[in-house]
C-alpha cells in the first residue's frame, strides 16, 4: 500500500483486497447500533449537572448525530471507488478529496472508538502497535484500530502541511 498527496486529493494506492475491505468497513464499524456502551461513548454526558445534560440531549445530541452521520456518508461515497470486482486480487486505488479530510478524520475516529469500546481493549493493548498475527475477531478489531489510526495520522500530516 502506498499513500501520497496527489494535487487536491490524498491517494491510497496498491491497496490489497484485505486492506480495501477494512476501509470499506469504516462506515459500518462507526455505527454503534446494538452496542450501548459504544453509543454512550460517542454521545457522552457533558456535565455532572442534570439540567445541562437534559438540555444537551434535547438540543445538542441530535446535531451531533447529524454531524457523525454526515461524516460517514461522505466516507461511504468516497469508498464507492472500491466497489466492483470484489473477488479480484488486483490492487486498487482510493482518492480522498482534501475537502473530505475532516469527514474522514471524524468517521475513522468514530470507528476506532466503537471498536475499542466493543472489545474493551486495555491501554496496553491499544499501545501495542506491532501485535500479530490476527487470530481472532478481537485481534482483527485491534488491527483495524491501528490501521485507521495510521490513515488518520497521514491525513493530519497533510492537513498540517497545507
Amino acid at each position: 500500500m502506498e499513500i501520497s498527496r496527489k494535487g487536491e486529493a490524498l491517494e491510497i494506492s496498491d491497496l490489497d483486497p484485505f486492506l480495501a475491505e477494512l476501509l470499506r468497513q469504516v462506515p459500518g464499524s462507526a455505527n454503534p447500533e446494538g452496542e450501548p456502551e459504544a453509543e454512550a461513548r460517542l454521545f457522552t454526558h457533558p456535565s455532572a449537572e442534570k439540567e445541562i445534560c437534559a438540555e444537551w440531549k434535547t438540543y445538542v445530541e441530535p446535531e451531533l448525530r447529524r454531524l457523525f452521520r454526515s461524516a460517514t456518508e461522505t466516507v461511504a461515497g468516497d469508498l464507492a471507488q472500491l466497489n466492483g470486482n470484489e473477488k479480484s486480487f488486483r490492487s486498487r486505488t482510493l482518492a480522498i478529496p482534501l475537502e473530505h479530510a475532516d469527514a474522514w478524520l471524524n468517521a475513522l475516529n468514530q470507528a476506532r472508538l466503537v471498536i475499542a469500546t466493543k472489545y474493551k481493549f486495555s491501554d496496553e493493548e491499544l499501545n501495542d502497535h506491532d501485535r500479530s498475527p490476527i487470530g481472532s475477531r478481537r485481534d482483527l478489531g485491534l488491527f483495524q484500530i491501528n490501521f485507521y489510526g495510521f490513515i488518520q495520522e497521514f491525513i493530519l500530516r497533510e492537513i498540517r502541511c497545507g
Binding site: 455532572a48 495520522e153 493530519l156
Partner: protein
C-alpha cells in the same frame, strides 16, 4: 458633591451604586475540561485544540500532554454559554469533554 457652608465644607457621601453586571459576568466561573481517552491520537487531539480554541500549536500540545499524563486538562474558563459551545465542538470531534462550575 461638595457644599459650601461658611468655612466648613461638607462632602456628601456618594449615593450607593448598585452593581449592575450583566448575566454573562455573573455566570463567569465555568471551565471546559478535556479527559484522557487512550483511543484518540495525540496528534488528532492537538489539532482539535488548535481548531476549537484557536490555540497555537505549542499551547495545544501542552494541553494535550497534560491530558495524556494527568488524565485531564482545563482548556478554557469563562461564561457558561461559551463553555457549552466549546464542549459541543469538542464532542463533535469525539473528545471526552465536560463543563464544570468552578467551586
Amino acid at each position: 458633591m461638595e457644599i459650601e457652608r461658611g468655612s466648613t465644607s461638607i462632602v456628601e457621601a456618594p449615593a450607593h451604586e448598585t452593581e449592575t453586571r450583566d448575566k454573562d459576568e455573573l455566570d463567569l466561573p465555568w471551565q471546559v475540561i478535556v479527559h484522557n481517552d487512550p483511543v484518540n491520537l495525540m496528534t488528532y487531539v492537538t489539532m482539535v485544540f488548535q481548531r476549537v480554541f484557536g490555540y497555537p500549536r505549542e499551547k495545544a500540545e501542552r494541553h494535550m500532554l497534560e491530558v495524556h499524563h494527568n488524565g485531564r486538562s482545563i482548556l478554557w474558563c469563562g461564561v457558561r454559554e461559551r463553555a457549552e459551545f466549546y464542549v459541543q465542538q469538542l464532542h463533535g470531534h469525539l473528545l471526552l469533554a465536560t463543563i464544570e462550575k468552578v467551586i
